[in-house]
Amino acid sequence: MGAVVEQQSAQNPLVEGLERLPVRPTAMVIFGATGDLAHRKLLPALYNLAHEGFLPERFDVVGVARRDESDDYFRQLARESIERFSRRQPDPAVLDGLLANLRYVAGTFDEDRVYSQIGQVLSDFDQQAGYTLNRLFYVATAPEYFPVISSKLGAAGLARAEEAETRIVIEKPFGYDLESARSLNQQVLRVFDEPQIFRIDHYLGKETVQNLLALRFANSLFEPVWNRNYIDYVQITAAEDIGIEGRAGYYDGAGALRDLVQNHMLQLLSLLTMEPPASFEANRVRDEKFKVQSAIPPPTIDQVASMAVRAQYGPGVSQGKEVPGYREEEGVPPDSRTETFAALRLHLANWRWAGVPFYLRTGKRLARKVTEIAVTLKPVPHLAFQSKGSVGVQPNQIILTIQPDEGVSVSLGAKIPGPTVRIRPVQMEFHYGTSFVSESPEAYERLILDAMRGEATLFTRNDEIEALWGIIDPILTAWKEDTSSPIPQYPAGSAGPPEADALLQAGHHWRKL
């Protein structure tokens, strides 16, 4: 996170003290430029970067998609995306300036002609600039196109440029299981070197996720208790109150485990449990993450039933409205066995965390939208206070909320005012909204800028991808092989299936949503 910046500062005397650091002039090529991700996230993020003056002094975009359309069509599409989804009201002059630098290449991703056209447009940009611009290829397509795009870029000679850096950003899901992830890694690594590859998980671009590192490594308060001696158990929750929102085609093939656990939630677990890195240089941080990911023993197929629970939402009431069950959603097969809820109990086999259970749960159509990490400390060894007339002394909890109200709260036991010593938990809270005046940038803004700079700390390395799939793969296999057991159902709008309670050890409980 800091090494690229420090290096830049050492070499350019004008950089010190600046918040917006120079980014080398770049041409960005978006594959899937007319798709949902580009429409909702990428193009608005580019506008916001332009508005704030974060983009490099020369910045051009090439949109690539199947529709046989023109530059003007893509500019109009981008204008609509930005006007609709930008987090700020666009400044007409900035917007016009950004759109003027957009080009469009039409074609399917397996056509050689498309890549020679991309090469031609990039050469035109270079010629206008008088030097070679850095290249950033952003693959925002369906995953089945990742290998072909990568290999065609290589074949067209676009994977490297003289006197400029070439990088490729690949969206999730990176693979469908361990084998496909390995195969995809191999295919992409045949064309690009690992330092050129930026596997994006937008969760890592969220301020609160990055704040996890600040909380752990910039405060001496937490580190002494951050281990098996003081921590009883940890819960990571990523609950959504919405259903599949018309994405049956994608979701029914993926499920909750692939959609959220394999990437976002295991990344949160990694940041929460990794050892302090020697520096915040990308590979030092990722080395530590990989070490802790490797310390999670993948379950055997036989162990899966006792450490993982899956379920589907049935009909119910969500936010006051009656909603259908998963199998009644449009596009979902009525006999679908895809999980919309997954809960796991994991353990880490290392000195710091041995014996501490990590409970992960995620689901759609749950009671509330919340993403949080709850660290529960062990109870005090001896209690000298009476618990009559109060809920009594509860173990301390440190809650890191990722969304919706980003912040940290610590529960402490405090005396209830009155003549007797009675204790109840109170909250000590830190909210981003009340403690900082600045607005958090969108995760995509931060990550696109990092990719342009070659700053890889917040991106997932190839060994991490494989380690994470290694944990998930046996669960996927066990669930796939089990074609007869009924899938537990939970009513839409509820806290999830009661079967998830079976994962909890004695004295542990799921936090209320």
Binding site: P13, L14, G17, V23, H51, E52, E439
Partner: protein, 351 residues
């Protein structure tokens, strides 16, 4: 936005502080999802006649409102304190977190200025960064409360003579961190120059710069001097003598340590509506130069060299003068180590 309001005449700091606590307690009881912003105290000392203008500027800082703003309004002949405390908050839909900002206006007289610290101290939130802004002078008030402030917000461009404005900033910098709006007006220019000279081949030419022209609004001479001072200090250049009236454009020289060539520095007053800089040109080698000029939606860049000319636009929205005060509030929480050396160099230029 909703407001809870308390007011009193002939009151005391203790009563004001107590009212703030009560307002917060009552509001929190009615709306548990409400939390007070706890970022910084902003103390503003203003003349009564000019209060409206300052209040308007404070309104326009957008999301950069201080958590507790204490506006001290100085009124000739006043002997007692009148106060209005306002809790401003948005109603939270569905119980989501909602932030409350506190604003206190205290009407004071000149008699209070010398010991303004005894009035402010009980009212500011302890442990938060405290920012002081006295746009109408009131040196005695500043002297009284400077010891309890971490940051002073000022505008070196406010003085007719840039040498005076820069000297005052320099003096204050010895007692507190200074956020200088004149310096913030140079930020986009500093960022773009840093970016333009970032490629390794360009970094090398920085040592061979021979001309620097800075075009600026006639009211922003201190900003122009700060930009030149920044470049000189970052390049470790020794400044020579500077001549010429600020109105018609000063000029002078600088020499980078260990280099033979001299950098000629020119300031060119420019007619433009917006305060701040209008453009900058850096020249090096036989015929190479880069000009950056203010244009809609960002800066127009013009590069000349080897008989070629290239023009392009660098994107970025102007914050405008409304935005610069909010940026000043935001900067109060950051620290820029390059301002001090730039200020020293700017003082030499403007002397």
């Amino acid at each position: 936005m909703s407001d809870d309001v308390w007011s009193a005449q002939d009151t005391t700091p203790e009563a004001i502080e107590s009212a703030l606590r009560r307002l917060l307690r009552e509001r929190h009881a009615a709306q548990p999802s409400l939390a007070p912003a706890r970022v910084l105290n902003l103390i503003v000392v203003v003349d009564r006649d000019l209060k409206g203008e300052v209040a308007n500027r404070l309104e326009r800082v957008g999301r950069y409102h201080a958590s507790r703003t204490i506006l001290c309004v100085v009124e000739e002949g006043r002997k007692t304190l009148d106060a209005v405390a306002v809790m401003r908050f948005e109603s939270s839909p569905g119980g989501t977190l909602c932030v409350v900002h506190e604003q206190v206006q205290i009407d004071i007289g000149p008699v209070h200025l010398k010991r303004l610290d005894t009035i402010i101290d009980p009212i500011k939130v302890t442990d938060l960064t405290t920012l002081l802004w006295a746009p109408h002078g009131h040196d005695d008030a500043v002297a009284s409360i400077l010891h309890m402030c971490d940051v002073v917000l000022r505008d070196s461009d406010d003085d007719d003579e840039p040498s005076d404005g820069l000297a005052q900033s320099s003096e204050l910098l010895e007692a507190a961190y200074v956020v200088d709006l004149a310096w913030l007006r140079t930020t986009p220019w500093r960022e773009r120059l840093a970016s333009s000279f970032d490629p390794p081949e360009r970094r090398a030419v920085l040592r061979h710069v021979h001309d620097l022209s800075i075009r600026h609004n006639r009211t922003s001479k201190a900003s122009a001097a700060l930009l030149a001072g920044w470049l000189a200090s970052r390049l470790n250049a020794q400044l020579g003598a500077f001549d010429g009236a600020a109105e018609s454009g000063r000029h002078g020289t600088a020499r980078i340590a260990g280099e033979q060539n001299e950098i000629r520095i020119h300031f060119e007053p420019h007619d433009q509506e917006a305060p701040g800089l209008a453009g900058v040109t850096v020249a090096w080698g036989r015929d190479s130069s880069l000009s950056l000029d203010r244009s809609p939606g960002g800066l127009r860049a013009l590069q000349r060299g080897r008989g070629e000319e290239r023009e392009w636009r660098i994107l970025g929205a102007s914050r405008g003068e409304g935005g610069i005060l909010g940026e000043g509030v935001r900067q109060a929480l950051l620290r820029d180590s390059t301002y001090g050396p730039a200020l020293s160099a700017a003082r030499e230029i403007a002397a």
